[in-house]
Protein backbone atom coordinates (compact mmCIF):
# COMPACT_ATOMS: atom_id res chain seq x y z
CA UNK A 1 0.00 0.00 0.00
CA UNK A 2 1.24 3.36 -0.99
CA UNK A 3 0.65 6.43 1.05
CA UNK A 4 -1.22 9.35 -0.39
CA UNK A 5 1.86 11.53 -0.79
CA UNK A 6 3.85 8.94 -2.74
CA UNK A 7 0.86 8.42 -5.02
CA UNK A 8 0.72 12.14 -5.69
CA UNK A 9 4.44 12.22 -6.29
CA UNK A 10 4.19 9.32 -8.72
CA UNK A 11 1.44 11.03 -10.66
CA UNK A 12 3.39 14.24 -10.79
CA UNK A 13 6.44 12.46 -12.13
CA UNK A 14 4.58 10.38 -14.70
CA UNK A 15 2.63 13.33 -16.07
CA UNK A 16 3.94 14.88 -19.29
CA UNK A 17 5.58 18.18 -18.67
CA UNK A 18 4.52 21.22 -20.70
CA UNK A 19 7.66 21.04 -22.79
CA UNK A 20 7.04 17.36 -23.52
CA UNK A 21 3.49 18.11 -24.63
CA UNK A 22 4.73 20.81 -26.98
CA UNK A 23 7.29 18.35 -28.28
CA UNK A 24 4.58 15.81 -29.15
CA UNK A 25 2.36 18.53 -30.61
CA UNK A 26 5.14 19.85 -32.83
CA UNK A 27 6.07 16.42 -34.05
CA UNK A 28 2.46 15.59 -34.87
CA UNK A 29 2.04 18.77 -36.90
CA UNK A 30 5.17 18.28 -38.99
CA UNK A 31 4.44 14.58 -39.47
CA UNK A 32 0.89 15.40 -40.66
CA UNK A 33 2.23 17.96 -43.11
CA UNK A 34 4.72 15.43 -44.45
CA UNK A 35 2.13 12.67 -44.76
CA UNK A 36 -0.28 15.02 -46.52
CA UNK A 37 2.30 15.97 -49.13
CA UNK A 38 3.36 12.37 -49.65
CA UNK A 39 -0.29 11.40 -50.03
CA UNK A 40 -0.84 14.15 -52.63
CA UNK A 41 2.20 13.09 -54.65
CA UNK A 42 1.21 9.43 -54.52
CA UNK A 43 -2.37 10.30 -55.48
CA UNK A 44 -1.24 12.38 -58.49
CA UNK A 45 1.16 9.72 -59.74
CA UNK A 46 -1.45 7.01 -59.14
CA UNK A 47 -4.18 8.95 -60.95
CA UNK A 48 -2.09 9.88 -63.98
CA UNK A 49 -0.72 6.36 -64.21
CA UNK A 50 -4.12 4.67 -63.95
CA UNK A 51 -5.59 7.01 -66.59
CA UNK A 52 -2.53 6.80 -68.82
CA UNK A 53 -2.31 3.03 -68.73
CA UNK A 54 -6.01 2.71 -69.64
CA UNK A 55 -5.11 3.53 -73.26
CA UNK A 56 -3.12 0.32 -73.42
CA UNK A 57 -5.29 -1.92 -71.23
CA UNK A 58 -8.90 -0.96 -71.98
CA UNK A 59 -8.44 0.61 -75.43
CA UNK A 60 -5.89 -2.04 -76.53
CA UNK A 61 -3.42 0.33 -78.09
CA UNK A 62 0.01 -1.22 -78.60
CA UNK A 63 2.59 0.54 -76.40
CA UNK A 64 5.20 0.34 -79.16
CA UNK A 65 2.78 1.83 -81.72
CA UNK A 66 2.04 4.62 -79.26
CA UNK A 67 5.70 5.49 -78.77
CA UNK A 68 6.79 5.18 -82.41
CA UNK A 69 3.66 6.05 -84.42
CA UNK A 70 3.93 9.26 -86.39
CA UNK A 71 0.25 10.01 -86.87
CA UNK A 72 -1.81 11.61 -84.08
CA UNK A 73 -5.54 11.58 -84.83
CA UNK A 74 -7.29 9.98 -81.86
CA UNK A 75 -10.69 10.64 -83.50
CA UNK A 76 -9.83 8.54 -86.52
CA UNK A 77 -9.18 4.82 -86.87
CA UNK A 78 -6.67 3.66 -89.46
CA UNK A 79 -7.01 0.90 -92.07
CA UNK A 80 -6.60 -1.85 -89.45
CA UNK A 81 -9.35 -0.37 -87.26
CA UNK A 82 -6.82 0.88 -84.72
CA UNK A 83 -6.98 4.47 -83.46
CA UNK A 84 -4.19 6.70 -84.74
CA UNK A 85 -2.37 7.57 -81.54
CA UNK A 86 1.28 7.89 -82.48
CA UNK A 87 3.00 10.14 -79.97
CA UNK A 88 6.43 10.25 -81.62
CA UNK A 89 6.04 13.75 -83.17
CA UNK A 90 5.23 15.21 -79.75
CA UNK A 91 7.99 13.30 -77.97
CA UNK A 92 10.55 14.38 -80.56
CA UNK A 93 9.24 17.97 -80.44
CA UNK A 94 9.53 18.11 -76.66
CA UNK A 95 13.06 16.74 -76.59
CA UNK A 96 14.27 18.84 -79.49
CA UNK A 97 13.00 22.10 -78.02
CA UNK A 98 14.34 21.20 -74.56
CA UNK A 99 17.83 20.30 -75.76
CA UNK A 100 18.09 23.25 -78.14
CA UNK A 101 17.03 25.79 -75.55
CA UNK A 102 19.46 24.28 -73.02
CA UNK A 103 22.28 24.45 -75.59
CA UNK A 104 21.54 28.11 -76.28
CA UNK A 105 20.97 29.08 -72.65
CA UNK A 106 23.98 27.34 -71.05
CA UNK A 107 26.82 29.60 -72.38
CA UNK A 108 24.85 32.74 -71.51
CA UNK A 109 23.95 31.45 -68.06
CA UNK A 110 27.46 30.33 -67.16
CA UNK A 111 28.94 33.53 -68.58
CA UNK A 112 26.60 35.61 -66.46
CA UNK A 113 27.32 33.52 -63.39
CA UNK A 114 31.08 33.87 -63.89
CA UNK A 115 30.75 37.63 -64.26
CA UNK A 116 28.57 37.87 -61.15
CA UNK A 117 30.86 35.73 -59.00
CA UNK A 118 34.40 36.06 -60.26
CA UNK A 119 34.88 39.10 -62.42
CA UNK A 120 32.76 41.78 -60.83
CA UNK A 121 30.96 40.57 -57.71
CA UNK A 122 29.87 44.12 -56.78
CA UNK A 123 28.16 45.02 -60.03
CA UNK A 124 26.86 41.48 -60.25
CA UNK A 125 25.14 41.68 -56.92
CA UNK A 126 23.75 45.15 -57.63
CA UNK A 127 22.49 44.78 -61.19
CA UNK A 128 22.46 41.21 -62.44
CA UNK A 129 20.97 39.57 -59.35
CA UNK A 130 17.79 41.70 -59.34
CA UNK A 131 17.45 41.42 -63.14
CA UNK A 132 17.67 37.63 -62.99
CA UNK A 133 15.15 37.50 -60.18
CA UNK A 134 12.81 39.74 -62.16
CA UNK A 135 12.99 37.35 -65.13
CA UNK A 136 11.95 34.46 -62.87
CA UNK A 137 8.87 36.39 -61.75
CA UNK A 138 7.43 37.08 -65.22
CA UNK A 139 4.45 34.79 -65.84
CA UNK A 140 4.80 32.35 -68.74
CA UNK A 141 1.76 33.75 -70.57
CA UNK A 142 3.62 37.05 -70.91
CA UNK A 143 6.60 35.26 -72.45
CA UNK A 144 4.19 33.50 -74.79
CA UNK A 145 2.52 36.73 -75.79
CA UNK A 146 5.83 38.44 -76.50
CA UNK A 147 6.85 35.36 -78.46
CA UNK A 148 3.68 35.53 -80.50
CA UNK A 149 3.89 39.22 -81.31
CA UNK A 150 7.67 39.67 -81.65
CA UNK A 151 9.52 36.37 -82.12
CA UNK A 152 7.10 34.72 -84.56
CA UNK A 153 6.93 37.64 -87.06
CA UNK A 154 10.72 38.04 -86.87
CA UNK A 155 11.29 34.35 -87.56
CA UNK A 156 8.83 34.56 -90.46
CA UNK A 157 10.61 37.58 -91.92
CA UNK A 158 14.03 35.95 -91.75
CA UNK A 159 13.38 32.27 -92.46
CA UNK A 160 10.01 32.32 -94.27
CA UNK A 161 7.22 29.87 -93.57
CA UNK A 162 4.61 30.77 -90.98
CA UNK A 163 7.11 31.63 -88.25
CA UNK A 164 5.59 29.08 -85.89
CA UNK A 165 7.88 26.24 -84.99
CA UNK A 166 10.69 24.89 -82.89
CA UNK A 167 12.94 27.87 -83.53
CA UNK A 168 10.42 30.34 -82.07
CA UNK A 169 9.77 27.97 -79.17
CA UNK A 170 13.50 27.73 -78.50
CA UNK A 171 13.85 31.53 -78.46
CA UNK A 172 11.06 31.88 -75.89
CA UNK A 173 12.20 28.97 -73.72
CA UNK A 174 15.80 30.20 -73.78
CA UNK A 175 14.73 33.40 -72.01
CA UNK A 176 12.48 31.46 -69.65
CA UNK A 177 15.08 28.99 -68.40
CA UNK A 178 17.97 31.47 -68.41
CA UNK A 179 17.32 32.86 -64.89
CA UNK A 180 16.95 29.37 -63.39
CA UNK A 181 20.19 28.14 -64.91
CA UNK A 182 22.00 31.41 -64.10
CA UNK A 183 21.12 31.52 -60.43
CA UNK A 184 21.89 27.83 -59.92
CA UNK A 185 25.21 28.21 -61.76
CA UNK A 186 26.06 31.18 -59.56
CA UNK A 187 25.38 29.07 -56.46
CA UNK A 188 27.62 26.32 -57.85
CA UNK A 189 30.46 28.82 -58.41
CA UNK A 190 29.96 30.29 -54.94
CA UNK A 191 30.42 26.88 -53.34
CA UNK A 192 33.92 26.48 -54.82
CA UNK A 193 36.28 27.02 -51.83
CA UNK A 194 38.17 30.29 -51.80
CA UNK A 195 41.56 28.56 -51.32
CA UNK A 196 41.28 26.91 -54.75
CA UNK A 197 41.36 30.35 -56.33
CA UNK A 198 44.10 31.59 -53.98
CA UNK A 199 46.27 28.57 -54.70
CA UNK A 200 45.82 28.99 -58.44
CA UNK A 201 46.63 32.71 -58.37
CA UNK A 202 49.64 32.01 -56.11
CA UNK A 203 50.99 29.62 -58.75
CA UNK A 204 51.02 32.53 -61.18
CA UNK A 205 47.82 31.79 -63.12
CA UNK A 206 45.92 34.77 -64.50
CA UNK A 207 42.32 35.38 -63.43
CA UNK A 208 40.94 33.90 -66.63
CA UNK A 209 43.17 30.84 -66.29
CA UNK A 210 41.92 30.43 -62.72
CA UNK A 211 38.29 30.67 -63.79
CA UNK A 212 38.69 28.42 -66.78
CA UNK A 213 40.97 25.74 -65.35
CA UNK A 214 40.08 25.71 -61.66
CA UNK A 215 36.74 27.28 -60.74
CA UNK A 216 34.70 25.95 -63.65
CA UNK A 217 36.29 22.50 -63.35
CA UNK A 218 35.57 22.31 -59.64
CA UNK A 219 32.01 23.52 -60.13
CA UNK A 220 31.20 21.16 -63.03
CA UNK A 221 28.74 18.89 -61.14
CA UNK A 222 26.86 21.95 -59.87
CA UNK A 223 26.78 23.51 -63.33
CA UNK A 224 25.47 20.29 -64.84
CA UNK A 225 22.74 20.13 -62.21
CA UNK A 226 21.80 23.70 -63.15
CA UNK A 227 21.51 22.79 -66.84
CA UNK A 228 19.45 19.66 -66.18
CA UNK A 229 17.19 21.69 -63.89
CA UNK A 230 16.66 24.21 -66.69
CA UNK A 231 15.91 21.37 -69.09
CA UNK A 232 13.32 19.97 -66.70
CA UNK A 233 11.63 23.35 -66.63
CA UNK A 234 11.74 23.67 -70.43
CA UNK A 235 10.32 20.17 -70.83
CA UNK A 236 7.33 20.93 -68.63
CA UNK A 237 6.55 24.44 -69.89
CA UNK A 238 3.15 24.46 -71.61
CA UNK A 239 1.53 27.80 -72.19
CA UNK A 240 4.32 29.90 -73.70
CA UNK A 241 5.43 27.07 -75.98
CA UNK A 242 1.90 26.32 -77.09
CA UNK A 243 1.48 29.91 -78.25
CA UNK A 244 4.49 29.94 -80.56
CA UNK A 245 5.07 26.37 -81.74
CA UNK A 246 2.04 26.06 -84.02
CA UNK A 247 0.63 22.84 -82.52
CA UNK A 248 0.78 20.64 -85.59
CA UNK A 249 1.22 16.99 -84.69
CA UNK A 250 3.79 16.52 -87.45
CA UNK A 251 7.35 15.26 -87.33
CA UNK A 252 9.44 18.44 -87.38
CA UNK A 253 11.21 18.49 -90.76
CA UNK A 254 12.86 21.84 -90.13
CA UNK A 255 13.21 24.25 -87.25
CA UNK A 256 10.66 26.62 -88.74
CA UNK A 257 7.94 24.09 -89.59
CA UNK A 258 4.99 23.99 -87.19
CA UNK A 259 5.27 21.12 -84.73
CA UNK A 260 4.07 20.30 -81.25
CA UNK A 261 5.19 19.21 -77.81
CA UNK A 262 3.61 16.87 -75.27
CA UNK A 263 2.42 19.82 -73.20
CA UNK A 264 0.99 21.83 -76.10
CA UNK A 265 -1.13 18.90 -77.30
CA UNK A 266 -2.36 18.34 -73.74
CA UNK A 267 -3.46 21.93 -73.20
CA UNK A 268 -5.20 22.29 -76.56
CA UNK A 269 -6.87 18.89 -76.45
CA UNK A 270 -8.07 18.25 -72.93
CA UNK A 271 -11.16 20.50 -73.09
CA UNK A 272 -12.41 18.88 -76.28
CA UNK A 273 -12.47 15.29 -75.09
CA UNK A 274 -14.80 13.31 -72.86
CA UNK A 275 -13.53 11.69 -69.64
CA UNK A 276 -13.08 7.97 -70.09
CA UNK A 277 -13.02 8.02 -73.90
CA UNK A 278 -10.01 6.88 -75.92
CA UNK A 279 -9.26 10.47 -76.95
CA UNK A 280 -9.07 11.47 -73.30
CA UNK A 281 -7.07 8.41 -72.23
CA UNK A 282 -4.56 9.03 -75.00
CA UNK A 283 -3.95 12.52 -73.61
CA UNK A 284 -3.46 11.02 -70.14
CA UNK A 285 -0.88 8.68 -71.65
CA UNK A 286 0.98 11.76 -72.91
CA UNK A 287 0.77 13.18 -69.39
CA UNK A 288 2.22 9.93 -68.06
CA UNK A 289 5.14 10.20 -70.49
CA UNK A 290 5.71 13.76 -69.23
CA UNK A 291 5.62 12.63 -65.61
CA UNK A 292 8.05 9.79 -66.24
CA UNK A 293 10.39 12.16 -68.05
CA UNK A 294 10.43 14.62 -65.17
CA UNK A 295 11.19 11.70 -62.83
CA UNK A 296 14.12 10.84 -65.10
CA UNK A 297 15.34 14.45 -64.95
CA UNK A 298 15.13 14.30 -61.14
CA UNK A 299 17.12 11.07 -61.08
CA UNK A 300 19.80 12.60 -63.32
CA UNK A 301 20.08 15.59 -60.98
CA UNK A 302 20.50 13.25 -57.99
CA UNK A 303 23.09 11.15 -59.79
CA UNK A 304 25.12 14.21 -60.71
CA UNK A 305 24.86 15.48 -57.14
CA UNK A 306 26.13 12.17 -55.77
CA UNK A 307 29.07 12.00 -58.19
CA UNK A 308 29.96 15.59 -57.39
CA UNK A 309 30.16 14.75 -53.67
CA UNK A 310 32.56 11.87 -54.19
CA UNK A 311 35.18 13.95 -55.95
Amino acid sequence: MKTKTTQQLEQQLKRHSKAAKLEIWGRTISLTALLLIVAVVVAIIGFVASKGIATFTSNHVNLWDFLTGKSWNPNITDANGKPEVGALPMIVGSFLITILSAIVATPFAIGTAVFMNEISPNKGAKILQPVTELLVGIPSVVYGFIGLSVVVPTTRAIFGGSGFGILSGTCVLFVMILPTVTSMSADALKSVPRYYREASLALGATQWQTIYKVVLRAATPGLMTAVVFGMARAFGEALAVQMVIGNAALMPNSLVSPSSTLTSVLTTGIGNTVMGSLQNNALWSLALVLLLMSLVFNLIIRLIGRKGRLQ
Binding site: W72, N75, S162, A248, P258, G276, Q279
Partner: protein, 293 residues
Protein backbone atom coordinates in the same frame (compact mmCIF):
# COMPACT_ATOMS: atom_id res chain seq x y z
CA UNK B 1 -2.73 31.79 -17.02
CA UNK B 2 -6.17 33.34 -16.61
CA UNK B 3 -5.40 35.80 -19.40
CA UNK B 4 -4.53 32.89 -21.68
CA UNK B 5 -7.81 31.21 -20.77
CA UNK B 6 -9.59 34.40 -21.73
CA UNK B 7 -7.94 34.44 -25.16
CA UNK B 8 -8.80 30.78 -25.68
CA UNK B 9 -12.41 31.52 -24.77
CA UNK B 10 -12.49 34.39 -27.25
CA UNK B 11 -11.01 32.18 -29.98
CA UNK B 12 -13.63 29.52 -29.34
CA UNK B 13 -16.37 32.15 -29.45
CA UNK B 14 -15.13 33.43 -32.83
CA UNK B 15 -15.06 29.90 -34.25
CA UNK B 16 -18.58 29.23 -33.02
CA UNK B 17 -19.91 32.54 -34.39
CA UNK B 18 -18.27 31.96 -37.77
CA UNK B 19 -19.60 28.41 -37.85
CA UNK B 20 -23.14 29.56 -37.12
CA UNK B 21 -22.82 32.32 -39.72
CA UNK B 22 -21.54 29.86 -42.34
CA UNK B 23 -24.37 27.49 -41.54
CA UNK B 24 -26.91 30.29 -41.87
CA UNK B 25 -25.56 31.55 -45.18
CA UNK B 26 -25.48 27.99 -46.48
CA UNK B 27 -29.19 27.84 -45.78
CA UNK B 28 -29.78 31.15 -47.54
CA UNK B 29 -27.84 30.37 -50.70
CA UNK B 30 -29.62 27.04 -50.79
CA UNK B 31 -32.97 28.78 -50.73
CA UNK B 32 -31.80 31.12 -53.49
CA UNK B 33 -31.18 28.52 -56.18
CA UNK B 34 -28.00 28.25 -58.19
CA UNK B 35 -27.16 26.28 -61.33
CA UNK B 36 -23.96 25.75 -63.29
CA UNK B 37 -23.51 25.67 -67.07
CA UNK B 38 -20.22 24.35 -68.45
CA UNK B 39 -18.79 23.75 -71.90
CA UNK B 40 -18.41 25.27 -75.37
CA UNK B 41 -16.44 28.52 -75.49
CA UNK B 42 -18.34 29.51 -78.65
CA UNK B 43 -21.62 29.54 -76.74
CA UNK B 44 -20.20 30.89 -73.48
CA UNK B 45 -20.69 34.63 -74.23
CA UNK B 46 -24.41 34.15 -74.91
CA UNK B 47 -25.07 32.02 -71.82
CA UNK B 48 -23.05 34.42 -69.67
CA UNK B 49 -24.94 37.49 -70.91
CA UNK B 50 -28.32 35.76 -70.61
CA UNK B 51 -27.36 34.52 -67.13
CA UNK B 52 -26.47 38.03 -66.00
CA UNK B 53 -29.76 39.45 -67.28
CA UNK B 54 -31.73 36.63 -65.70
CA UNK B 55 -30.14 36.92 -62.27
CA UNK B 56 -30.62 40.69 -62.47
CA UNK B 57 -34.35 40.20 -62.98
CA UNK B 58 -34.72 37.32 -60.52
CA UNK B 59 -32.88 38.21 -57.33
CA UNK B 60 -31.54 35.33 -55.28
CA UNK B 61 -30.76 33.11 -58.26
CA UNK B 62 -27.23 32.32 -59.39
CA UNK B 63 -26.15 31.08 -62.80
CA UNK B 64 -22.48 30.10 -62.98
CA UNK B 65 -21.13 29.85 -66.50
CA UNK B 66 -17.79 28.20 -67.23
CA UNK B 67 -15.89 27.37 -70.41
CA UNK B 68 -13.79 24.26 -70.83
CA UNK B 69 -14.85 23.13 -74.29
CA UNK B 70 -17.64 21.09 -75.83
CA UNK B 71 -16.13 17.79 -74.66
CA UNK B 72 -15.99 18.99 -71.07
CA UNK B 73 -19.57 20.27 -71.22
CA UNK B 74 -20.95 17.00 -72.55
CA UNK B 75 -18.99 14.77 -70.18
CA UNK B 76 -19.91 16.89 -67.15
CA UNK B 77 -23.62 16.84 -68.02
CA UNK B 78 -23.47 13.09 -68.68
CA UNK B 79 -22.02 12.57 -65.20
CA UNK B 80 -24.66 14.88 -63.76
CA UNK B 81 -21.97 17.11 -62.24
CA UNK B 82 -23.59 20.27 -63.65
CA UNK B 83 -27.11 21.32 -64.60
CA UNK B 84 -26.46 22.49 -68.18
CA UNK B 85 -23.86 21.30 -70.70
CA UNK B 86 -23.05 23.77 -73.50
CA UNK B 87 -22.17 22.16 -76.80
CA UNK B 88 -21.45 23.12 -80.42
CA UNK B 89 -22.26 19.60 -81.55
CA UNK B 90 -25.14 17.19 -81.36
CA UNK B 91 -24.36 14.98 -78.35
CA UNK B 92 -24.41 11.92 -80.61
CA UNK B 93 -21.51 13.31 -82.68
CA UNK B 94 -19.14 13.36 -79.70
CA UNK B 95 -17.47 10.04 -78.97
CA UNK B 96 -18.13 8.55 -75.54
CA UNK B 97 -21.50 10.25 -74.98
CA UNK B 98 -24.81 8.43 -74.59
CA UNK B 99 -27.03 10.92 -76.40
CA UNK B 100 -30.22 9.12 -75.32
CA UNK B 101 -29.85 10.32 -71.70
CA UNK B 102 -29.57 13.97 -72.70
CA UNK B 103 -32.23 16.45 -73.69
CA UNK B 104 -31.30 18.95 -76.41
CA UNK B 105 -32.27 22.64 -76.27
CA UNK B 106 -31.18 24.53 -79.40
CA UNK B 107 -30.74 28.15 -78.48
CA UNK B 108 -28.76 29.62 -81.36
CA UNK B 109 -27.36 29.03 -84.83
CA UNK B 110 -23.80 29.87 -85.80
CA UNK B 111 -22.55 30.32 -89.34
CA UNK B 112 -18.92 29.45 -90.05
CA UNK B 113 -16.89 30.86 -92.91
CA UNK B 114 -13.44 30.19 -94.34
CA UNK B 115 -11.13 33.18 -93.89
CA UNK B 116 -7.87 33.95 -95.66
CA UNK B 117 -5.10 36.47 -95.30
CA UNK B 118 -5.81 39.61 -97.32
CA UNK B 119 -2.70 39.18 -99.50
CA UNK B 120 -3.99 35.87 -100.91
CA UNK B 121 -6.12 37.69 -103.48
CA UNK B 122 -8.92 35.12 -103.58
CA UNK B 123 -12.49 35.93 -102.61
CA UNK B 124 -14.35 32.94 -104.04
CA UNK B 125 -13.58 29.23 -104.20
CA UNK B 126 -15.59 26.26 -105.37
CA UNK B 127 -16.24 23.58 -102.75
CA UNK B 128 -13.96 21.23 -104.69
CA UNK B 129 -11.16 23.82 -104.58
CA UNK B 130 -11.68 24.35 -100.84
CA UNK B 131 -11.41 20.61 -100.24
CA UNK B 132 -8.22 20.45 -102.32
CA UNK B 133 -6.74 23.34 -100.32
CA UNK B 134 -7.50 21.75 -96.96
CA UNK B 135 -6.40 18.24 -97.99
CA UNK B 136 -3.03 19.60 -99.13
CA UNK B 137 -3.47 19.09 -102.91
CA UNK B 138 -3.25 22.81 -103.55
CA UNK B 139 -0.03 24.14 -102.05
CA UNK B 140 0.19 27.56 -103.72
CA UNK B 141 -2.55 30.12 -104.06
CA UNK B 142 -1.78 30.69 -107.77
CA UNK B 143 -3.17 27.19 -108.43
CA UNK B 144 -6.62 28.56 -107.57
CA UNK B 145 -6.19 31.95 -109.19
CA UNK B 146 -4.58 33.89 -106.35
CA UNK B 147 -1.20 35.42 -105.63
CA UNK B 148 2.06 33.43 -105.72
CA UNK B 149 2.01 32.51 -102.02
CA UNK B 150 2.31 29.13 -100.32
CA UNK B 151 -0.85 27.90 -98.58
CA UNK B 152 -0.58 27.93 -94.77
CA UNK B 153 -3.35 25.87 -93.16
CA UNK B 154 -4.48 26.73 -89.65
CA UNK B 155 -6.87 24.35 -87.93
CA UNK B 156 -8.80 24.48 -84.72
CA UNK B 157 -7.89 21.80 -82.16
CA UNK B 158 -9.11 18.26 -82.74
CA UNK B 159 -12.54 17.81 -81.23
CA UNK B 160 -13.40 21.50 -81.50
CA UNK B 161 -17.02 22.04 -82.53
CA UNK B 162 -16.13 24.64 -85.16
CA UNK B 163 -13.67 22.25 -86.79
CA UNK B 164 -16.12 19.35 -86.74
CA UNK B 165 -18.82 21.50 -88.37
CA UNK B 166 -16.41 22.90 -90.97
CA UNK B 167 -15.09 19.47 -91.96
CA UNK B 168 -18.56 17.98 -92.16
CA UNK B 169 -20.31 20.69 -94.15
CA UNK B 170 -17.50 22.74 -95.70
CA UNK B 171 -15.19 19.91 -96.70
CA UNK B 172 -17.96 17.36 -97.32
CA UNK B 173 -16.62 15.11 -94.53
CA UNK B 174 -13.05 15.19 -95.87
CA UNK B 175 -10.46 15.29 -93.14
CA UNK B 176 -8.16 18.29 -93.11
CA UNK B 177 -4.47 17.66 -93.55
CA UNK B 178 -2.52 17.72 -90.28
CA UNK B 179 -1.39 21.30 -89.79
CA UNK B 180 -1.07 23.98 -87.16
CA UNK B 181 -3.76 23.87 -84.51
CA UNK B 182 -4.98 26.72 -82.35
CA UNK B 183 -7.46 26.41 -79.53
CA UNK B 184 -9.37 29.65 -79.88
CA UNK B 185 -11.08 31.58 -82.66
CA UNK B 186 -9.52 34.90 -81.65
CA UNK B 187 -6.05 33.39 -81.96
CA UNK B 188 -6.94 31.92 -85.37
CA UNK B 189 -8.08 35.30 -86.64
CA UNK B 190 -4.98 37.14 -85.52
CA UNK B 191 -2.69 34.50 -87.03
CA UNK B 192 -4.56 34.54 -90.36
CA UNK B 193 -4.42 38.35 -90.35
CA UNK B 194 -0.63 38.42 -89.92
CA UNK B 195 0.54 35.31 -91.83
CA UNK B 196 0.75 35.66 -95.64
CA UNK B 197 -1.00 32.78 -97.38
CA UNK B 198 -2.90 31.63 -94.28
CA UNK B 199 -6.37 30.08 -94.46
CA UNK B 200 -8.63 28.99 -91.62
CA UNK B 201 -12.26 29.15 -90.55
CA UNK B 202 -14.17 31.03 -87.85
CA UNK B 203 -17.71 31.85 -86.80
CA UNK B 204 -19.27 34.86 -88.57
CA UNK B 205 -18.97 37.00 -85.43
CA UNK B 206 -15.17 36.74 -85.56
CA UNK B 207 -14.83 38.08 -89.13
CA UNK B 208 -13.53 41.65 -89.27
CA UNK B 209 -11.62 43.72 -91.78
CA UNK B 210 -8.21 42.30 -90.85
CA UNK B 211 -9.14 39.08 -92.69
CA UNK B 212 -10.92 38.19 -95.96
CA UNK B 213 -13.92 35.87 -95.83
CA UNK B 214 -14.49 33.56 -98.79
CA UNK B 215 -17.57 32.91 -100.87
CA UNK B 216 -18.12 29.27 -101.77
CA UNK B 217 -19.54 28.43 -105.22
CA UNK B 218 -20.43 32.15 -105.45
CA UNK B 219 -22.61 31.99 -102.32
CA UNK B 220 -21.45 34.62 -99.88
CA UNK B 221 -21.34 33.93 -96.14
CA UNK B 222 -24.28 35.99 -94.94
CA UNK B 223 -26.93 35.34 -92.33
CA UNK B 224 -29.67 35.31 -94.97
CA UNK B 225 -27.92 32.53 -96.84
CA UNK B 226 -27.59 30.54 -93.61
CA UNK B 227 -31.33 30.75 -92.86
CA UNK B 228 -32.13 29.15 -96.23
CA UNK B 229 -29.22 26.67 -96.03
CA UNK B 230 -27.72 28.06 -99.28
CA UNK B 231 -24.66 28.62 -97.06
CA UNK B 232 -24.21 25.11 -95.70
CA UNK B 233 -21.54 25.58 -93.03
CA UNK B 234 -23.53 26.30 -89.88
CA UNK B 235 -24.38 24.53 -86.67
CA UNK B 236 -26.78 24.74 -83.80
CA UNK B 237 -25.60 25.76 -80.36
CA UNK B 238 -27.04 23.39 -77.80
CA UNK B 239 -27.83 23.54 -74.10
CA UNK B 240 -27.99 19.94 -72.91
CA UNK B 241 -29.70 18.78 -69.74
CA UNK B 242 -29.73 15.31 -68.22
CA UNK B 243 -33.37 14.31 -68.47
CA UNK B 244 -36.06 16.98 -68.64
CA UNK B 245 -34.95 20.15 -66.82
CA UNK B 246 -36.63 21.18 -63.56
CA UNK B 247 -36.70 24.23 -61.32
CA UNK B 248 -34.29 27.04 -62.11
CA UNK B 249 -32.70 25.10 -65.00
CA UNK B 250 -36.07 24.84 -66.71
CA UNK B 251 -36.87 28.52 -66.12
CA UNK B 252 -33.48 29.66 -67.35
CA UNK B 253 -33.60 27.60 -70.55
CA UNK B 254 -37.12 28.86 -71.23
CA UNK B 255 -35.76 32.39 -70.71
CA UNK B 256 -32.92 31.86 -73.22
CA UNK B 257 -35.40 30.44 -75.73
CA UNK B 258 -37.88 33.28 -75.18
CA UNK B 259 -38.28 35.97 -77.90
CA UNK B 260 -36.97 38.57 -75.45
CA UNK B 261 -33.51 37.00 -75.53
CA UNK B 262 -33.63 35.53 -79.02
CA UNK B 263 -34.46 38.90 -80.63
CA UNK B 264 -31.93 40.95 -78.65
CA UNK B 265 -28.96 39.20 -77.06
CA UNK B 266 -28.65 36.38 -79.58
CA UNK B 267 -28.55 38.86 -82.48
CA UNK B 268 -26.29 41.38 -80.71
CA UNK B 269 -23.68 38.73 -79.99
CA UNK B 270 -23.49 37.63 -83.62
CA UNK B 271 -25.55 34.43 -83.47
CA UNK B 272 -28.71 33.64 -85.41
CA UNK B 273 -31.90 32.60 -83.71
CA UNK B 274 -33.24 29.11 -84.58
CA UNK B 275 -36.60 30.81 -85.18
CA UNK B 276 -35.11 32.63 -88.19
CA UNK B 277 -34.25 29.38 -89.91
CA UNK B 278 -36.43 28.21 -92.78
CA UNK B 279 -34.90 24.75 -92.62
CA UNK B 280 -34.10 22.29 -89.87
CA UNK B 281 -31.15 19.95 -89.68
CA UNK B 282 -31.00 16.75 -87.61
CA UNK B 283 -28.00 15.05 -86.03
CA UNK B 284 -27.33 13.05 -89.20
CA UNK B 285 -27.13 16.26 -91.24
CA UNK B 286 -30.49 15.73 -92.99
CA UNK B 287 -32.21 18.96 -94.02
CA UNK B 288 -35.97 19.39 -93.82
CA UNK B 289 -37.76 22.62 -94.81
CA UNK B 290 -39.79 24.17 -92.01
CA UNK B 291 -43.40 24.68 -93.11
CA UNK B 292 -44.76 28.20 -92.88
CA UNK B 293 -41.62 29.84 -91.58
Amino acid sequence: MSKKRWWQGLGLLIVVVLGVYAYQTRQVSHAGESITAVGSTALQPLVEAAGEQYTGEHLGTFINVQGGGTGTGLSQIQEGAVQIGNSDLFAGEQKGIQAADLVDHRVAVVGITPIVNRKVGVTNLSTAQLIRVFTGKVTNWKQVGGADLPVVLINRAQGSGTRATFEQFGLAKHRSKTAQEQDSSGMVRSIVATTPGAISYVAFSYVDKTVQDLSLDNVSPTEDNVTTNRWKIWSYEHLYTKGQPTGLTKKFIAYVESPAVQKTLVRQLGYLSPSQMTVERDAAGKITPLGGA
